[in-house]
Subunit: 539 residues, 2 copies
């Protein structure tokens, strides 16, 4: 375990802020330094995701060390897309653990509201795979594709899905209403949620974290303090959705969790509260399962039972989460850790304090879950070894099931593979590129606010061919599709387009001609598949 | 000292490369992994300065972990402008030292040649202070301002300055000619140097590092190997040139050097060879002095004596430096460390090998010397303690003088202040903003290739008022100025404009009217100064 402690935490209110980034960072940093009771730090660690494009600033580590009147000390900047705030915390903790510095200041922030929303959506979409962006995929659309697939695997009706997502949004807004640093403080009713517009079906406006400005800060030290860093873990997965083993479980989270729990010598059973990256409400569900906080398939039921509410068995996002606290992309990962610190210090007002919190976890997602981080903090008063002894003897809550890939009720979803074991590097899988001319729709969405330059709405889908290769595609003429539907896939300028097979039949002569032309261009295997279909039709 | 060793090093040839960044990084990484004799690493550390603007890529840590077929393992990206390659090496070494990982892969790269040169110049200029950029300041222009000031303080004639800069360029090109990874391999004659065009007087084309593509990679491990990390140091200085104590000594380097030498328990006398950030030839001179490799004012003489040549007493930039090896901004800091590793391993061909190299240093500059890094490597066969004993007993070459602020021949230049001592945070100096209406030219340049959107040529200067406050300014109608000249300063839209006082006199009635109008607008103090001038004229 690392000899790293948190000496003080601070953050700004998140939301639309008139101040420049440097002023926001300074506000958060001064609060953290005050809380730490110290003026001097030896180094500055900066987390900003994309000042270059959001505000036209470069050289941000230098800019911020100046803005903080700390000019002279070492200063570096880290970036891992929307997990930047967690990444910078981990790097700073490693430097303190290595005894390179005794005390460092970690700041993370983002200034996003200077630009119009479609442009921000476009900048954020650049974290996605370049090829998959060609059809107009945005972050909300990608999240919607994952959410619908999740619902389908869980056999939820649209109404049931709405209900559970509403429940998460309402919970997080209720928590945010108690948090003076949250962007949204007015709460949210289920009715209001259900009346809100779709951003990318099935995700509504209230399923998506807002565009925000804000900053967070922490002081880390090697001198024992009440809150200790117990575990750090980071894991990656393919940027391209099409290459992933599973669409509905984030391997990057599972790998990060495994490393963090191993460093902390803990199991998920030890966790008393968690901040889970709910950039989209459904990610809170998936995150809780990936972290092993609930057995696969159990998160839904536990949330219905209220387990994750502020007064529940395992409060999740007591701060309001990204959903209600706001989501300045570079800052969120660090703001989660600020919340855990305050909860463990028991310094918050009773109304929003999680009682008896001894051990807390934060999970942060970078990009569309391509680079995720898990951070575990605990009270350090019991001393490291005693604490480890107490915790490692605790019964694992769900990790055993999670570690072996989940053979439970949700076997199908988990069969896509367990996370890497024993610290080994996961085997590089051959990248299967290209797509067949016929496939089956795995999931779809109607993207209603695509990035700048794309028409709205836009029907997007993930299609899988009989070789198991996937593609993100749009449908021809925005035609609706459904999960499991057989479609023809054509590709032009790198953009895959889907045409429902059934539609070709309905269109008669014209379609049959098109179908024949298509057959002539197909390789042997696919021609056979097309013939099978024709045979099926005859029968 | 840290228990961190270099297991293997690799890099691509630098230059204009057709491949995308991911392919370049892969080439360098495969070479480093081969050299390390290992396939498995536990984490990836990525250094890229500005993929967002150079190539439109975001989420680069994730993109590169995929490109390297390492998907799954932790991956983070660091950025500190043009010192990015050094910053990522330091962060990776800290993580290994903290025993978070036993073995990590560090990669750094940049892809710059996809964009037209004026656009690249503009993107690079964004590391400069926002206010100082308003008048069209570019990196070469800023370096030229510093260079002319340096020459003036050293009392060099333009011919002497040309001669010493030519000497550095010729040396580095000669070294580059021997390096198969260098961008320029044809060598450079003094005549050719002197015939080359000015980019920003007194800097010519051959004083400036080129725009390049390329990547470098290293494998770090906690298992003893022949090359060991001895010292790491990072220091910052104001981004704004106007706020610095000295224009001609980089405090960021001096602070970084102090930390690195302290960690290594060495003095500059122990250094057998150095890679010094020569983005501009004059920076090699300044760097050698700031590092304590030569006493202040001595670097010039030592270079004339050939001390820094490949077969000299203290070879500097045996790789060819940024000047001849090329300067893919994110990669250069790591490429320097790759060169040191190869030199210490004695694995290079005899023609370009520095004999008896036991201890080597790299200095990397971020931005216009706002965030600098020093890395010290050594042979580890003697064992850490023995080595430290041997080295720390060596007579300091120049560090004593450097540490006490330099009271030698170059007192004026060094009087601006010593670096921070004893690890204390340097005191925040009050920022003196604003500028008086009258000042004296400290240095100037004719910028012939300003960033996109500015007319060429552009006469720029740094002016200092009687309160010691500085401003970067342009001259009215591009009028020439000289060092020490008295000028009037006007400000419009944040851009400071200088008009020579003498010119007003020559212009007769019209000018006198303008002069009276100006006087009426001036505060008391300045009006008096203006009267003094009038009195002086009368006398």
């Amino acid at each position: 375990m690392l000899d790293v402690y948190i000496a003080g935490a601070g953050m700004t209110r998140f939301g639309k802020r008139p101040e420049p980034l440097s002023v926001l960072v300074r506000e958060a940093a001064e609060m953290a330094l005050r809380a730490a009771g110290q003026g001097a730090v030896e180094a500055l660690y900066v987390g900003v995701m994309n000042a270059e494009q959001f505000t036209g600033d470069s050289n941000v580590a230098s800019e911020l060390v100046d803005a903080l009147d700390l000019t002279g000390i070492p200063a570096v900047r880290l970036e891992t897309a929307s997990a930047t705030g967690a990444a910078v915390f981990h790097a700073a903790a490693q430097a303190v653990a290595a005894r390179v510095y005794q005390s460092v200041l970690v700041v993370a922030g983002e200034k996003m509201t200077d630009r119009p929303a479609p442009l921000v959506t476009g900048i954020l979409a650049e974290v996605l795979d370049r090829d998959e962006r060609l059809c107009g995929l945005s972050m909300p659309a990608a999240a919607a594709l994952i959410t619908l697939r999740y619902a389908s695997e869980q056999r939820l009706t649209p109404e049931q899905l709405s209900k559970v997502l509403a429940r998460i949004a309402v919970k997080n807004h209720a928590n945010g209403a108690l948090n003076p640093y949250a962007q949204f403080r007015q709460g949210l009713s289920e009715e209001h949620y259900l009346r809100s517009a779709f951003v990318a079906d099935p995700l509504r406006l209230y399923d998506c974290a807002p565009i925000s400005d804000g900053a967070a800060a922490l002081v880390l030290t090697s001198t024992p303090r009440p809150v200790r860093v117990l575990g750090l873990g980071n894991g990656t997965d393919y940027v391209a959705l099409r290459l992933r083993r599973s669409l509905t479980s984030f391997e990057a989270t599972r790998r990060a969790a495994e490393l963090a729990f191993r460093m902390a010598r803990l199991t998920p059973a030890a966790i008393d509260l968690a901040e889970v990256h709910d950039a989209f409400t459904s990610f809170e569900l998936i995150g809780c399962e990936d972290l092993g906080l609930f057995a696969p398939g159990e998160a839904l039921k536990e949330m219905e039972r209220g387990a994750t509410e502020l007064r529940g068995r395992l409060p999740v996002n007591p701060s309001g989460g990204l959903k209600a606290r706001g989501h300045p992309v570079g800052a969120s990962g660090l703001a989660q850790i600020v919340e855990l610190t305050w909860q463990l210090e028991q310094s918050l007002p009773a109304e929003r304090r999680v009682p008896r919190a001894e051990c807390a976890l934060a999970q942060s997602i970078g990009g569309l879950a391509s680079n995720n981080f898990v951070t575990i903090l605990g009270k350090s008063r019991a001393g490291p070894l005693a604490a480890a002894g107490r915790w490692s003897s605790a019964a694992p809550r769900a990790v055993a099931d999670s570690a072996k890939g989940g053979a439970g009720a949700n076997g199908a979803r988990r069969s896509s593979g367990a996370p890497s074991q024993g610290g080994e590097r996961p085997k590089a899988r051959p990248r299967q590129e290209g797509i067949d001319a016929v496939g089956e729709v795995e999931t779809f969405t109607i993207s209603r606010r695509p990035p700048a330059g794309f028409p709205a709405p836009l029907v997007l889908a993930i299609v899988r061919d009989r070789f198991g290769r996937r593609a993100v595609a749009r449908t021809r003429n925005n035609l609706p599709v459904r999960i499991g539907q057989q479609v023809y896939i054509t590709t032009k300028g790198g953009v895959h387009e889907l045409a429902p097979k059934s539609r070709l039949r309905r269109l008669g002569v014209l379609a049959r001609r098109q179908y024949r032309r298509l057959r002539q261009r197909l390789p042997g295997g696919v021609r056979r598949a097309a013939s099978d279909d024709a045979a099926g039709r005859a029968a």
